[in-house]
């Protein structure tokens, strides 16, 4: 390996280094006995981890060309580096939002493990996005999934949390088993596991299509498309809020990225077949996600179903006109990171402070916590796609990509669904601003990190909406 190879692999190498440093630091923590020192130590480690991760995020933006390592098992180019940077930014915001959760008494001792597991899953996603063959893809998928089960069950002494963990790991194991079966059929019919070889020999015969369907079910599970969405609501409700937001934004974003790369580069031969397939899945996902979201009272469940519906919108870009489709999907995920993390950040802050998660508890929130209400309002507007915030442009480009391929029917259904989603997003806003409440959540002040995280989200939502060069840049890369 020469220096250039290190620069190409910098996301993964740096993250691995940080994981090892944190692991060693945690080993030394056993020498520090006593209540106060553990608390100081864990706070120190959190600061240290955030600092190191900030460096990784910044180094990620150093420009570097395309490249291939390890005989084609690892591939990278501008667009994959952009994808990893988006994932890094999202994880950084989640780290900021997790500090107050990790400061709680019952979590202090486990804060290093939390960060270690979080970084391991991110490493898995990075490798998944950069994979050049099915083996690396599968290992990345597993590394991105297994530690998340432990994170979902992080507060294991509450029943709901262990339920979330066990549900997640059982369903993840099932879907990754089906994916593995699909991969073995792809290997059997093509004689190779390298993406570059498979893309040459893949054909539209029945067995290959069956293999493809098995294969994508694992990714559909991670994106929570509709026939595979049953885990989402329960796990989202049971897991700690930070992990819920991680699942719904970063994990989903990474899966969408590799999904679109695979469709365009490995399975272009059967594009007609997967277009029909995703057309149907898109309508189902949007509609069912929306219909269930209307009925939810718990804010975490509510956001879970809304994020299922958002996944349906993403598919519009995936089956759209290729170049615009790829650009609009990446752009949408970038905006989705900021808007969804903004919404989850507010829910997490309120849940950490008061333990309240129901929509009724948000009645009259504007009277006591005007700033938080405004952030939540902006995020929900962005998720719904209301013009001044970035979410509008994200949806607009997705719809354009689908319309350019001539899927007018799908675009009309998507527009109807966007209108339905506006209704339930406004329900929350109505609760905060209009509904009266005798005992609203009291005023509280967030710590520095939560505020920084929310500020980044708000800035992201506003700036990305107005700075047109961002979309142009992504478009020219894809």
């Amino acid at each position: 390996m020469n220096l250039n190879d290190f620069i190409i692999m910098r996301h993964e190498l740096l993250l691995t280094t940080v994981i090892i440093i944190l692991l060693i630091a945690e080993v030394f923590s056993i020498f520090e006995k006593g209540e106060k020192s553990i608390s100081e130590f864990s706070f120190g480690i959190e600061m240290f981890a955030i600092l190191l991760f900030l460096i990784i995020t910044l180094v990620g933006f150093v420009p570097s060309g395309r490249g291939m390592l390890f005989g084609g098992m690892y591939q990278t180019d501008e667009i994959r580096i952009l994808m990893k940077n988006i994932l890094n930014i999202g994880t950084l915001i989640i780290l900021f939002q997790s500090v107050s959760y990790l400061r709680k008494n019952e979590n202090k001792e486990k804060s290093t493990e939390f960060i270690l597991l979080l970084f391991s899953t991110l490493l898995g996603m990075n490798f998944m996005v950069s994979s050049g063959d099915f083996l690396m893809f599968y290992l990345g998928l597993e590394l991105a999934t297994l530690p998340l089960a432990a994170l979902a069950a992080f507060d294991k002494f509450k029943n709901k949390f262990s339920e979330a963990g066990i549900k997640f790991i059982l369903l993840a194991a099932l879907s990754s088993g089906v994916t593995l079966y699909g991969i073995s059929m792809i290997y059997g019919t093509n004689g190779s596991i390298y993406f570059s070889d498979v893309s040459l020999t893949f054909s539209d015969e029945g067995l290959q299509i069956l293999a493809f369907i098995f294969f994508i079910s694992g990714l559909a599970f991670k994106i929570s498309l509709v026939p595979f969405h049953f885990w989402a609501a329960d796990v989202y409700e049971g897991a700690p809020v930070n992990i819920t937001s991680y699942l719904s934004v970063i994990s989903k974003g990474a899966a969408v990225f590799i999904f679109i790369i695979l469709l365009y580069h490995v399975f272009p031969v059967i594009s007609k077949e997967w277009t029909y397939l995703l057309y149907a899945l898109s309508i189902l996902t949007m509609t069912i996600g929306n219909l269930f979201a209307i009925r939810q009272q718990n804010l975490k469940r509510f956001l879970a179903f809304s994020s299922i519906a958002q996944a349906g919108f993403i598919l519009l870009g995936v089956i759209g006109e290729p170049q615009l489709g790829l650009a609009s999907v990446i752009y949408f995920v970038l905006i989705y990171v900021f808007s969804n993390l903004g919404a989850f950040g507010v829910v997490s802050a309120i849940s950490n402070f008061s333990g309240k998660e129901n929509m009724n508890d948000y009645n009259g929130l504007y009277q006591t916590n005007p700033k938080l209400s405004l952030v939540l309002m902006l995020s929900l507007f962005s998720l719904a796609g209301i013009p001044p915030v970035a979410g509008f442009f994200g949806k607009f480009f997705l719809f354009t990509a689908a319309a350019q391929k001539g899927f007018y029917g799908l675009v009309i259904i998507a527009t109807l669904n966007a209108t339905i989603s506006l209704y339930y997003y406004l329900l929350v806003i109505k609760a905060m601003f209009i509904n009266k409440n005798e005992q609203p959540v009291e005023y509280f002040r967030n710590d520095f990190f939560t505020r920084t995280g929310l500020l980044i989200c708000v800035l992201g939502m506003i700036i990305i909406g107005f700075a047109s060069f961002i979309f142009d840049g992504i478009f020219s890369m894809s």
Partner: protein
């Protein structure tokens, strides 16, 4: 001769797989699974994949079955009989697996261009080891290293789950 052995092993796999999923005693199911895994190793031997067969025997038949039996013993449900599933569920399961099997079989037989990769390079243990640390074409050093990170993360995750409550 080879064919006779192949059909014998296949029959063993089929029969014991069925017994595994239909047995109502969980410990017996684990033992039936052991026979399935051993017979699979036999098929690998038949194909000349000695290393793969060895791995199958030590890892699956040796390690995983022992783990499963440990788990059954530790949870103390070894002697219990499982409840019979209701008739509806039973029929539904049969229907779904039949649909799956028939679809797969039709597609398998309709497909006629399986690429055959000859056995011209004997897969010796030495070659398997060499390709595991080979960073070039057809080398597997990157997945090999990634698996170590995966195991590390799994261990950390297990510790998080198993850690005692704070004082």
């Amino acid at each position: 001769m080879n064919q006779v052995v192949f059909y014998f092993l296949s029959a063993v796999i089929l029969v014991f797989s069925l017994l595994t999923v239909t047995s109502s005693r969980i410990l017996r199911a684990a033992v039936y699974l052991l026979f399935v895994l051993i017979a699979t190793a036999g098929i690998y031997f038949l194909l000349g994949y000695n290393f793969l067969a060895g791995v199958q025997l030590t890892l699956y038949a040796g390690g995983i079955i022992v783990l499963i039996i440990f788990a059954i013993m530790l949870t103390g449900s070894a002697g219990e009989k499982l409840e019979r599933p209701s008739l509806n569920k039973f029929l539904l399961a049969i229907l779904i697996s039949l649909i799956g099997t028939v679809t797969s079989l039709i597609l398998f037989f309709a497909y006629h261009s399986f690429p055959v990769i000859g056995n011209e390079i004997p897969a010796t243990v030495k070659m398997v080891g060499a390709s595991l640390i080979n960073p070039g074409d057809n080398g597997y050093v990157l997945p090999f290293e990634l698996i170590s990170v995966l195991l590390l993360a799994a261990i950390v995750g297990a510790i998080v789950i198993a850690k005692k409550a704070t004082r």
